[in-house]
Subunit: 225 residues, 2 copies
């Protein structure tokens, strides 16, 4: 389907988004805030991983916050707020991705200079969020073992635009007959050299390396300024 | 975000799609073909269920076929073709849904009058396919037990436009601590009275009622002509 008119309008809107995102990225970098954009299919365990991550980083005395996107409901914000860190919800009411301006608006009143890591949990979707830069420092593509090994090949756009892949729910790997080698090879095929972490939020397996990877990224951000 | 220009163009494109879909629906009904549009998140088990469904219907001597949509790869068509029924792939190359005209084009050369049930496996996405009528008789929303009980509340659009919900991978329910009552109550809240089936393709549990539901829908279609 060629839809030249919608493509033209979409291109202009994306251009505006890119400009907003670039300005936000400069502000984030100046303030020393690592911004992590979590993208995945619905139900791959983004919120559970984020909840545990916020809890652990807070326990280390770090200043962290989260913005969570969903079509409807503020369930996730309520759930994450239990970790005791600042959390804000964006309800997109039908839109399948977050946009830079939505995040920018939700930042109002937050002192960026007092923040070390800001997490953005995107709308659960493997397609739409791909084109929308949110000014993030790191885009993370999450993939649960229950979703199937072929997802990197089917959704190359997400893996191509992400900096890090996280395989989630590895505690279910045996129950679903997950083919780890095939998944890693498919990720490598779509995005050669992409770092891949493996976590099971429920059991805690792999959470330490994930936290360390985030902290290393923040150090790199500070050193690059 | 209000984007009046993109909304206007989108409305016109959807209108054209609706007209194409309506014409296709008339052709399907005239030919007595039940068309089943399967919509879900990526990795919820659409292809596995479809593979088993095609196999069982073929074993009963029924004339069935499938059209499968993905952003990239024809993996699913290859996999489904093993069932020995006609299967065609649509690669959308970045588009997060199927459109009526794409399906119409793929129908070329198939004798509709010789077909009893046509399955359309949509692109794995809980948002985009919602607005696009494909001329189907039945839209089925699939939700796996691994995705979380809150999905009907977060994606009401899909459940509101679907005729039937299927909970998949029930063999994993215990491993993931699936709250069945909560899920059923959430579906009921979004779409009161919606019929819900529960299947585990891997073990075969619930497949018979699913097949029977499809056959009953086809009888109803024939009787309504």
């Amino acid at each position: 389907m060629i839809q030249p008119r919608i493509l033209e309008v979409r291109t202009k809107i994306l251009k505006v988004n890119d400009e907003t995102a670039r300005a936000m990225r400069r502000r984030f970098e100046a303030a020393g805030v690592l911004v992590v954009n979590l993208v995945s299919s619905p139900g791959s365990g983004k919120t559970a991983l984020l909840e545990e991550t916020l809890r652990r980083l807070k326990a280390r005395g770090m200043s962290v916050a989260a913005i969570v996107g969903d079509l409807e409901t503020d369930n996730d914000a309520q759930r994450l707020a239990r970790s005791g860190v600042p959390v804000r919800q964006i309800e997109t009411h039908g839109l399948c991705h977050l946009e830079a301006a939505m995040v920018d608006e939700r930042l109002a009143g937050w002192d960026l200079a007092g923040l070390e890591i800001l997490f953005i949990e995107n709308v659960g979707n493997l397609v739409c969020p791909t084109s929308w830069d949110l000014g993030e420092s790191v885009r993370v593509a999450l993939l649960s073992v229950t979703e199937g090994e072929d997802k990197p090949l089917k959704y190359p756009g997400l893996f191509n635009t992400s900096d890090l892949a996280v395989i989630t729910k590895t505690d279910l790997a045996e129950a679903v007959g997950f083919d780890r080698a095939l998944t890693l090879s498919n990720i490598e095929q779509v995005r050669p050299g992409m770092p891949v972490l493996e976590v099971a939020t429920k059991t805690g397996t792999g959470i330490d390396p994930w936290i360390e990877a985030l902290l290393a990224r923040r150090v790199a951000l500070l050193n690059s300024r």
